[in-house]
Symmetry: C2
Subunit: 235 residues, 2 copies
């Protein structure tokens, strides 16, 4: 794999994450009608913000913690605690992101979990919950036997990338679905690409590029510090 | 990574590929109205069949050619030719899959390339075209210098998995989009989960599991035969 300097890569990932989050907030605020916590449509508008923040951005940054050069980070334990904390905040965001949509549906008498987007998204969150619990038990609790870590570590790495892929795909199918819902009977339908459609399509592509960039960062062999299983590291 | 026996894995992948293809054909035939090549809605119905066949199933099986046990396959050259042939058929399917939807849109005066699904899908096909040409030039033509192979091989592997992820996500967003289009003003809307919605949602989840299973097969270290770059192998 060609070597890429880590600093410009992390600046790019950082700026892209701010851009994705900013555009998601702007879409929810400007086009979808703003925020509330009352079971109305405005409560739903937290859903894209919480999901993009938790399942994509925080999750992606948490995965890259193990790619930071050693000199810029403290001990392995501090790195593990940072990874666990960021993914825990990401998971709480995802649970809140589910809560707002279930609450909105229940108040508005809209059935839950009917679209393929919702099936995909719930699959991602369920896998993420297993991943977090298994990761915590294996890499932070001291009594997990080494033979189990040897088996589980590559599984954790594999599902780490898979869950990010599922989250990114969920965001894209969710944006696509929302645009069809909002613009099908609109005076300027989705097929005429009104300003909101351009905006949200570009947002979807930026989320895709963020996800692909994180997966690239995880795949570069030169950025992996060690395969030392005895250290209980999930790198 | 825990060791999985290759034979039951490949039987599972084979059966899942037949199931995905069969259900896609059945959806197009039974619910979408069957097939034609005349610019009508029936021409569009080739789109899901060609895309699932090419970008997911043939592509996935082609990727797994390099995971077959050596004793079950001939020389490295025959393996490379099989991989190139399967991916070429997959690519032709994808081009035909684009042709039917562009032709249908043009005849019906529907704009092309407006939805996020179409942006995602075209990204997958464009990346796939670069991947095929670069793979062919690097691993089948004899004059590519070894230093370039050393650089390019991991890039080919990385994008191989990424393109499969993009294709799977495109299929899921496409099924989701089609169900919203068809069922929004229907007597039994998508939110009431009529039989077609159950059927196509399950199809989407099976395509997802197929994609994840292939990525798992590519990730199992014990199934990778060699890192010998001098052999010009893209394993």
């Amino acid at each position: 794999m060609p070597t890429i300097p880590f600093l410009p890569y992390s600046i790019l990932v950082g700026n892209l994450s701010i851009l994705c989050l900013g555009l998601t907030v702007y879409w929810s605020q400007h086009w979808l009608g703003g925020f509330a916590w009352d079971g109305s449509r405005k409560m739903f508008n937290w859903h894209p913000v919480l999901m993009v923040t938790g399942m994509v951005i925080l999750y992606g940054i948490a995965a890259l913690v193990y790619r930071l050069p050693f000199s810029q980070m403290g001990s392995l334990l501090s790195r593990k605690v940072l990874h666990a904390t960021l993914t825990l905040i990401a998971f709480i965001s995802a649970i809140l992101g589910l809560e707002v949509v279930f609450n909105f549906h229940n108040v508005q008498k809209i059935p839950n979990m009917y679209s393929l987007h919702s099936w995909l998204g719930l699959t991602a969150v369920l896998l993420f919950s297993c991943q977090w619990l298994m990761g915590f038990a294996s890499f932070l609790l001291p009594w997990t036997p080494i033979w189990f870590l040897v088996l589980y570590r590559p599984v954790h790495l594999f599902f780490g990338s898979v869950i990010l892929g599922l989250s990114t795909a969920s965001c894209i199918s969710g944006i696509n679905e929302k645009l069809f819902m909002r613009l099908t009977n609109s005076t300027t339908p989705y097929s005429q690409l009104p300003a909101e459609a351009w905006f949200a399509n570009i947002l979807g592509m930026l989320i895709l590029w963020f996800g692909m960039l994180v997966l690239l960062g995880l795949a570069i062999p030169g950025w992996k510090h060690s395969d030392n299983l005895g250290s209980r590291s999930p790198m």
